[in-house]
Symmetry: C2
Subunit: 274 residues, 2 copies
Amino acid sequence: MSERTVFFLSDQTGVTAETLGHSVLTQFDGRQFRQVTLPFIDSDDKAMAAVDQINSAASNDGVRPIVFSTLVQDEFRNVVRKAEGLFLDIFDVFLGPLEEELEQQSTHEAGRAHGMSNIESYMKRIEATNFALANDDGGITRNYEVADVILLGVSRSGKTPTCLYLALQYGVYAANFPLTDEEFDSGTLPDILLKQKHKLVGLTIAPTRLQQIRKERRALGQYSSAQQVRYELREAEKMFKKYGVPQIDTTEFSIEEISSRILDSTGAERRVRA
Amino acid sequence: MSERTVFFLSDQTGVTAETLGHSVLTQFDGRQFRQVTLPFIDSDDKAMAAVDQINSAASNDGVRPIVFSTLVQDEFRNVVRKAEGLFLDIFDVFLGPLEEELEQQSTHEAGRAHGMSNIESYMKRIEATNFALANDDGGITRNYEVADVILLGVSRSGKTPTCLYLALQYGVYAANFPLTDEEFDSGTLPDILLKQKHKLVGLTIAPTRLQQIRKERRALGQYSSAQQVRYELREAEKMFKKYGVPQIDTTEFSIEEISSRILDSTGAERRVRA
């Protein structure tokens, strides 16, 4: 089977085309795709250069590329459409029905989706990111009253990346607090957390997976030993049960899934959608 | 004009539906939409609950909702399709042409796009996030040899959120280094940066905007004074010119745009696409 090239074309960042294309292509098993993002196609020259790249891939691969496009400007879209590829454009497909439904013409202007059209939403994402950093790992501020969610878990259970993702993608204020010997020995969670009990979510993970992740960080020593990993996870689970903290098993989940399940479980609202 | 409700339905996280819907809706000026994400629709009960929610929004709003769906499983899609809404489904539209092009049936299985189908790509994102944190703000490790890009800029020019976004979205290793009086007084960049000159990107920002952002952090004092902000930005720009560091003005750009332009400018490769 020849390897296909997939292009993500955009007059803006290409994030939407990438996300869409990635989703659709995962529906085809056992395929490998070479992926190329061509963002900021906002001139005839760039549109023509994109056509050249698509055509060369077609000739190199011996099979035409798949082209996911979010080009809103007709003039550039019409240039690119002539390339030797399967052209799939979201605006082609969805703008028509929406214009009819909303009884309004779309603007066909580039750069709106991930543009600075909404400074307020930009600031929310930045502030949420700063919050996540300041409240990381039981960090400096412990400003849990304004948190939307507070993640609990042992070291390397996925707390930090999840908090950062929640901040950047949804503007959600996510703090995290590591469960360590201090909590295990006392068998209790600190009051500062218990006051915000409805915001708590516990992250769990399979011992073998956690061990693998910890070994990436520190190959030797107790930290990544099977015994230690199993001990910490067992104690963490006890703690979650004791306080009725909902648990999410991160073993099989991506950052997006963990985040989405946290919002689902706590009912925390997405402040923005990136 | 009555306010519309927009639903993002998914048998997984809803990220693709949100991204797609957001992109398309920004093409309609002056509209406000109430946004509701309904993820993990993976049972008849949940599909029926979604129908109820859509129908009540229709009746409350006096106008039918817009429904962006990425439901891959026909049984649930067929339930939801009957709700009182404009149903726009990416799989409806794109799977057909792709199946024909690839001469392969799609799996119609849920949970592949942002699922843990690819542990390697998950690990890359996590490792890149850890790298960004360790190399934040001229931080501890200064492991610039393995960085893909190194962002330079004054305090609050957008370095940290951009590095984290590059890590989470693309698995790119992004470090950042703050320009302060130390560099301005000497008029030089440290050798450790100059050794990696091809990885450097300078972030600039309009003085009034930077002042506004800094005031959020510290309302009073020199840090957010007009004079200080203008001085630092002028010195930073001198530095970028002196060393031929490409500049990106973040004033009007979203995190996605800044990130995409950085990759474009340095030629750094996306290690994954989230």
